[in-house]
């Protein structure tokens, strides 16, 4: 097999990331436990989520050691999802509004 897929780094990094993921998961659980509300809640959830996702992809899935060509293949297409999310949230708002208008006349 080609040497580019070899993973020479030590076990230590996995243990560190594992502990980090544990801590981050505990943090996101505590957001619920302490009942943080509204924008504080949503931003904390998103921060912990993206940190966890980033560490899993970068370290566990080794993306940070891959060639740039592969990184772009994997990270550019999901931008389309952001467009979908934006469109669907506009649509969801509109549906909610029309339901209120229709049912609460």
């Amino acid at each position: 097999m080609s040497s580019t897929t070899g993973q020479e780094h030590s076990i230590g990094i996995y243990l560190k990331v594992w502990i980090l993921l544990f801590v981050l998961s505990t943090c996101s659980y505590l957001v619920d436990y302490f009942g943080a509300e509204s924008y504080l809640r949503w931003s904390l959830i998103l921060i912990f989520m993206f940190l966890k996702a980033g560490f899993i992809v970068a370290i566990f899935m080794h993306l940070s050691w891959e060639r740039l060509a592969l990184k772009y293949v994997l990270l550019l297409p999901p931008i389309a999802i952001l467009v979908l999310i934006a469109l669907m949230s506009i649509e969801g708002d509109y549906t909610n509004l029309s339901r209120h208008i229709f049912f609460e006349r």
């Binding site: 097999m1 080609s2 580019t4 897929t5 070899g6 993973q7 020479e8 780094h9 076990i11 996995y14 243990l15 990331v17 594992w18 993921l21 544990f22 998961s25 996101s28 659980y29 957001v31 619920d32 436990y33 009942g35 809640r41 949503w42 959830i45 998103l46 912990f48 989520m49 966890k52 996702a53 899993i56 992809v57 370290i59 566990f60 899935m61 080794h62 060639r67 740039l68 060509a69 592969l70 772009y72 293949v73 994997l74 297409p77 999901p78 999802i81 979908l84 999310i85 669907m88 949230s89 649509e91 969801g92 708002d93 549906t95 909610n96 339901r99 209120h100 049912f103």
Partner: protein, 227 residues
């Protein structure tokens, strides 16, 4: 990443010129086993599937006029008289993260050629995955039998809650179950020595799939259980 234009034809250049080289040179673009590239492409497509599910969930939740059931209460457990919100879900999260850790170590040991440790770590990963599925089965039972949640309605509020919950966690649970099977088969073949000559890239490929399952759970946990 520093870039040196004089070395732009260097295939080992990690920067943009290296990427241009990868694509433009008369060679295979992605220098890796084909199975690994195909797994990445599959995972990219799976990313889209789960994203569409979660976007659908967002749309349905935003447009629902009834109150959305509070996941913190729906998934709470009372143990020895103590009311604990989302306890089971938190344990499931830790189990899945731990399984990702053992999997990452299995990949490392595989590339060192230590097949015994690799097989053991993969078996541990599969076992943790199986316990995740078991806890999910318990969670579903709780919800269906005790809380009366159905895909078409529930006593707590918006009817869409049930269908979204069963579809998203069901699809994720299916991924975990298939992953357990996949891990068991590869672990068995590793232990038997099937890859001594072909190399251990398969362990890394299996690992990519397993980490992805963990990755998806991170998003489900954040958007469905915590939001």
């Amino acid at each position: 990443m520093t870039e040196d234009i004089s070395k732009s034809s260097n295939f080992t250049d990690p920067g943009v010129s290296g990427m241009v080289g990868d694509w433009a040179s008369d060679k295979q673009t992605f220098d890796m086993p084909w199975g690994k590239l195909m797994m990445w492409i599959f995972l990219l497509s799976d990313t889209f599937i789960f994203s569409i599910f979660l976007t659908g969930y967002m749309n349905v939740r935003m447009s629902a006029t009834e109150v959305w059931p509070n996941p913190s209460e729906v998934f709470a457990l009372t143990i020895a008289g103590v009311h604990l919100p989302l306890l089971l879900i938190a344990i499931m999260t830790f189990v899945l993260i731990t399984s990702s850790g053992t999997m990452a170590m299995a990949v490392n040991f595989a590339y060192r050629g230590d097949k015994r440790t690799t097989a053991l770590l993969m078996a541990a990963t599969a076992l943790l995955g199986a316990s995740f599925v078991g806890m999910q089965a318990f969670e579903w039972t709780q919800l269906i039998v005790h809380e009366g949640v159905r895909p078409w309605g529930n006593p707590m509020g918006a009817a869409q809650f049930g269908s979204i919950f069963f579809m998203i966690t069901g699809f994720h649970g299916l991924h975990v179950s298939i992953g357990v099977l996949y891990l068991s088969i590869v672990a068995f073949k590793v232990a038997r020595g099937d890859y001594e000559e072909r190399g251990y890239a398969i362990v890394e490929i299996t690992g990519l799939y397993w980490h992805f399952v963990d990755l998806v759970w991170v998003f489900i946990f954040a958007f469905f259980y915590l939001w």
